[in-house]
Every structure is written in C-alpha cells, then in structure tokens.
Amino acid sequence: MSTRTFEHVGTRPIRHDGVDKVTGRAAYGADVSLPGMLHGAVLRSPHAHARIVSIDTSAAARLPGVKAVITGADIPPNSAKLMLGGEAALDLHDMGDNLLAHDKALYHGHAIAAVAATSLDIAREALARIEVVYEPLPPITSVDAAMADGAALLHDKYKRNIANRMEFKRGDADKAFADADVVVDREFRTPMVHQGYIEPHACLARTGEDGRAVVWCTTQGPFVVRDASAAILGMDPAHIKVIPTEIGGGFGGKIVVYLEPLAIVLSRKTNRPVKMVMSRDEVFRATGPTSGSKVRVKLGATRDGALVAARVSLWYEAGAYKGSPAGAGAMCAIAPYKIPNFFIEAHDVVVNKPKVAAYRAPGSPIAMFATESAIDDVARQLGMDPIEIRMKNAAAEGDQASYGPKYGPIGFKQVLEAAKNSAHWKSPRQANLGRGFACGFWFNAGMSSSATVTLNPDGSAAVVTGNPDIGGTRAAQALMVAEELGIPVERVRPIVADTDSAGHSDVTGGSRVCYATGMAVIRAAEDVRDQLRARAAKIWNVDIADVGWERGKAVPLNGAAKDQQPLTVVQIAAQMPHTGGPVVGRAAVNPPMAGPGFGAHICDLEVDKETGRSTVVRYTAVQDVGKAVHPSYVEGQMQGGVAQGIGWALNEEYVFDANGVMENAGFLDYRMPVASDLPMIETVIVEVPNPLHPYGVRGVGETPIVPPLAAVANAMRDATGVRFTELPLSPPRVLRGLTAD
C-alpha cells in the first residue's frame, strides 16, 4: 500500500462545491426559507443557577402574530440513553433538559421557553411578555468552587459536583518519583473557550399533517439530529428527514442539537414551517464551549533524560450537565511517550456554565498544554534539547499506549525527525524572540459510514455520502473515485445527501471522514469497478476471471478475448442497458479507531515586555497524516487548528462575573485571531501509512489544535524566563507575571 503510486490522490483539484461557495450561492443553515414560515425565538434564563418556580406564557400567547409558545412541559422527560458516537452516550434526559429547562435553570442563557411568531421582532417581543418566577441559587463558576465543602449542588446525585472520575495507572509512580533525579510539579489552568464557528446554529422545520417532519439544518451529523430529535420527542425516526445544509464551521460544536427539536414542536403546534437562528450572543452563552480546567502535572526523569514517572490530575468543567472530555484528556496526556510508571486521574465537574460540547480533539489540548509545558521544564533542568528529550522517550509501534493497547504503526518519531530537520528549527534563533516546541496527539475515529457510487451513461460518476462537507471532503471523495475508476476528477460529482437518501453515516468529526467515509467511498468505487469488469466480460463473451483492470480500462487477460481492445469506463457505461442495466456500487464500513496522528509544532514568539502583548512571528506545524488525499485541504486543516490553538493560548477566554454571567459574549471581546495577528503558517506533512486504510489515511483535522497551547507557552518561557501556567497569556496576565518577581 505504501508503494502504490497515485494518479489523482495527492493532487490539488478545485473543489467541486467551490464555485457555489465563492459566489454566495451555497446555502447554509440560515439561508433556507419556505413560504408562510414563522420565526422562532428562545427565552433564556437570566440566572446562572435558579429553581424555576413558575412560567406564565399567557400574555405572550395573546400577542398578535404569536402562533405558539412552548416550555419544558412540551418536551417529555426522558431517562433513556442513546449512544451517539461522541465522547460518551449522550444522556437524553440531560439533552432534553438542556433544550428547555424543567425544574432548574443551570446556567445563564439556559433555554426556558420558545415562541413562534410571524416575525422575529414579534417573537422577541413575545419573549419579554413571558413571566417566569425564579428562586435564585448560589452560582458555581469554577471547579474549585464546585468541589468546596458546603458548595451548592447542581444535581443532588453528584457529591461535591463531581459527576465522574476515571483513572489510568501503571507501575509505581510514587516510588519512581523518589528515585528520579529531576522532578517538575506544576498546576495549570485553562479557561472555558468556544469553537468560534462563524455560522450560528440555524434550522428550519416543517411538520406535515401526517406528523412527519422535514428539518433543514446546519449540522455535523444529520443522523444525530434525526435520532436525537426522535428520541427526545418520542417520535419515530423514520418520520423525520434531516437535510443538512452547508455548514459554516463546527469543530465539534454542531454535533449536539439545540434548536431542531424545538422547531419541530413549534411547527407541529402551528402547522407552519418554523425557522430558528441563534444570535452570536446565544451561541456563546447557550451552546457547547469546551471545559475550563485545572490540571496538576508531576513528571520525574533520570539524568539521562528518561521520563520515569508521571502523575496527572485533571479537573474539567462539564458545564451544567455531566460529560466533559476529561477521560479523553487523561488518555492523551502522555500518549506520545513510554513512561513506565504513571497515575492519571480525571474528574468531570459540573458547574453553572453551558453544557460543554466537543471542541476539536476534545480534552487533549487542555491536558497536553500541561504535560508538554512540564516536559519543557524537565528538559531545561537537564540541559536537554526539547526535541531530543522527546525522541528519547518516544513511543513507537509495539509500545503500550498510556491508555492501554499497543500501538500499531505510528509516526511520532518520524514527526520529531521532520521537525528537527525543518527549515524553521534549523533557522537561527533571533535574540528578541522566544522559541517553543510542543507535541500533540489525537485518535482517529472509525465508526459507521456508507457510500454509493453511481455511473452515468456518459461515464461520469456520482458519489453519495451522508457526511456534511466542512473542510473539503467532497473534493477528497471525488479524488478517491477518480483514482479507483480511472476517470478525471472533474467527472465525479460528490454529493452530501439527506437522511432519507444516504445510508447511515456517523458524524463529520473525529477526524473520520477521509478515513472511515473515505474507506466506504473507495470500497463502493471498487464495487463499481468489479461490475464494470463483469460488463466487459459480457461484451467480450468471456469469463470475468479473464478481465483485468488497468488505469480506467477493462483489459483482457489470460489470452481470452485476445483480439479485443481494452474498454474504457466511458465505453462500458454507454452500453449499460445492454449489459445488465445501471451500475451502482455501494459499501458500508465500521472500522475501528486506530492509527492516531501525532503532531509537533515550533513557535517563534515576540513578547513586548512593556505591554505584555505577544506576536507569533513564525510557526511551523508538522504532522503525520498517513496519506494526504488533497494536500491543500490537509494543509488548511493544519493551519486552521494552529490558529485556534494560538487563540486559546494568547487571548480567548470566557469572562464570567460573580453572578456567573458571561461578560464578553461577542467577537469584539472574545478575541479570536485575525489575519493581522498571524504569520504564514508553515506545514510539513509526514506520511506514515495507516494500515487499516487502503491509502494509509489518518485523520488530520484535530491533532493540529493540540500542540499550540504549549508551543506558545514554551516560547513565552524562552522569551521571558517566566513559566506561565495559566491561559490565556493575554497582555494583563503576561505583565503581571513579568513584574511579579
């Protein structure tokens, strides 16, 4: 597999949905409308923690133009669980309560009621007329406050507000620390941050007189929308059709549903289509940012640089309901290294903040910010180069991962070598800049995907999947079909279909579309190829065993049909009716999660010691992607993850006041990187094939957000001599740290 030469895979064609996207024609969630549609709006809790005593919607319902008002009473309480292929089984009781609160408001912005009206203005006016009586309760806004003695409990069943605890251990860490030559022990903190997708959540639901619903929505998982909505509303999933629109970013935040079930209920009550679009304020306050955290890391090493002991304690904010990525953080924290003795514990802590959702390699950036910073300190104490110390401890194929199983072929050492040999690392360090190095790890989700490939009479092909295209996966799928069939990539039409038209696919996320859905696409194309050989056999009147395939042509073998010329796809397609009818290839896969991707980043940082402002002057991201199907989009995923990681490191944070109200719920003060903040981002693609995939693909999307947090912090340490352990490294914090001693 690794010796296969590709004709199409690895090239950079223009993406098939590109013209629509550069002309404004592509329809995103809020771009869909229907005649007679109503507009929905959501009333949200002004309290971060409160008992809901009563809700009176009568005045709102009387407002002319208001057609329906719903509350938690319209969402049946639900205790069933549903495994949706995310971090854990999504608890429907929690999800239903998050959609519309029942007994308690658990965060500022928690949905309390929803309205459908003939205009958005009227809907918002109606919200103001809904009378809610609250009994405010003390808000809990940090893991420390949550676990403190006597703290108010969000849910009576979680003692000390700890919803879950996990452990990973090996050997005897305490003894190994006692024998270590160097020990680093630090506490790190990271804030709650948001995925920051530019497109707010939006949907349009239309239920019919037969009770069936059609939902257009922006989502990473149309099947999740269908199944979650059905389960929460007590509907038959076969009666819900979800049509995914184009999606304006997700990063994990558009896997959970916030609006769709509400829109379905409102549409049912009004017998009209209902459109619901979140404002940016609502996106910040009431969707799923990722956890703020407290992380303690203790590392022990011997003088030769061998890491002999690790102790990692993670406390992650789950938000209002259980389910932070603390477990994943625990699995990633020291995953790149062979450390023989370790103890890792992860705590899932509920707080009065929005329920956290997945954010690109969920849990890993937080944990590895801490461990990669600590490794940097160990290297400094030993006088060792940061790449050398990692090389010395690097895990490789056959080593036992910190989370248990043995690694198959992985590319961590190759990534370290590539970083060491990069132009950036070899370039002389400039006196006024700090240079930081850090690594990252994320899995490569498998799970279920389906694909069909159909051949047209003109020899062109369509490939249909159920995975929304967030970052160029249509183009990658077209390249795969072009490769397998030997037809030009422009003659392949990649289509993202709705839940009635496509076979089941799990979400677009988890770095899985090119890997798992791609695997299904390749197998479906192979199915087409086998059928084309059978058609050629029929045309030549020979056995299929006598028909081979070479670069887009059926060729005769074994002396049979030896006078026949090879047949192209175009030629065979033209004769489909005579040889058996249409040619439709199909495949469905559910591959395991294997073949994780490692990354290593280098950051040169300039720190203005008078203002505390930092500028990333040069940045290089190295990553093992297995096989880059469309290198431009692979590079793009790496660069995008870097930008998010830099924002997380330098400026992004949810700022809460004492009442648990977010103070910076807008793009002005929730400061994400802009074009003038960043340099060009150099990328180095390493390809150590993943044996599970026909081309060797590993997912690329998530790993790149992991290294930047520590790469920037390590560069800051290099530039200032100060080890900052709390993010973001915003100017006020940097100044405090620089003037502290």
Binding site: I255, F443, D506, E702
Partner: protein
Amino acid sequence: MTAVAIVHLPSGWTRFTDGIDEIAIDAPRVRELFVALAERFPALGEQLDQIAVAIDGHIYHHARYEPLRSDSDVYLLPPVAGG
C-alpha cells in the same frame, strides 16, 4: 471454540470489581465477554453500556460481535471520538 482473553478493565472500575482490574475471561466474542463480566461483577451495571473495546490495538465503539482469540489483548476504554 474457547478463547481465554486477558481483559484489562478501567482502573476506575475497581470500586465495582472488588479491586480487580485485569481478568482472564473465556469468551469467543465481545458479547459473551460482557455477559461474563456482568455476571461476575453485577455492580458494573450500566458501565458496560458506555464503553469502547480495544482488541489488539484496534478500538471499537460497537464491538458486540467482534471475535476474541486466546492471545487477544483486550482493553475497555472510555468511548472517545472527537469533535
């Protein structure tokens, strides 16, 4: 066909398993393995519904009918996917 695989349980489960975190179980497939675990450790309850299974380094979210061999190295892990 009998297959006695070594199964590594999550350390956090020891409170349900009387401190046992590694056990040899005779089971031809993951399904039979889970039945055996539920019988052996009734306190596990719903933990078994929310777990991924790694078999020889490959992590499955839906592993029920995956076969196990005598030398299979099995880890039960939190079901992580991504974002």
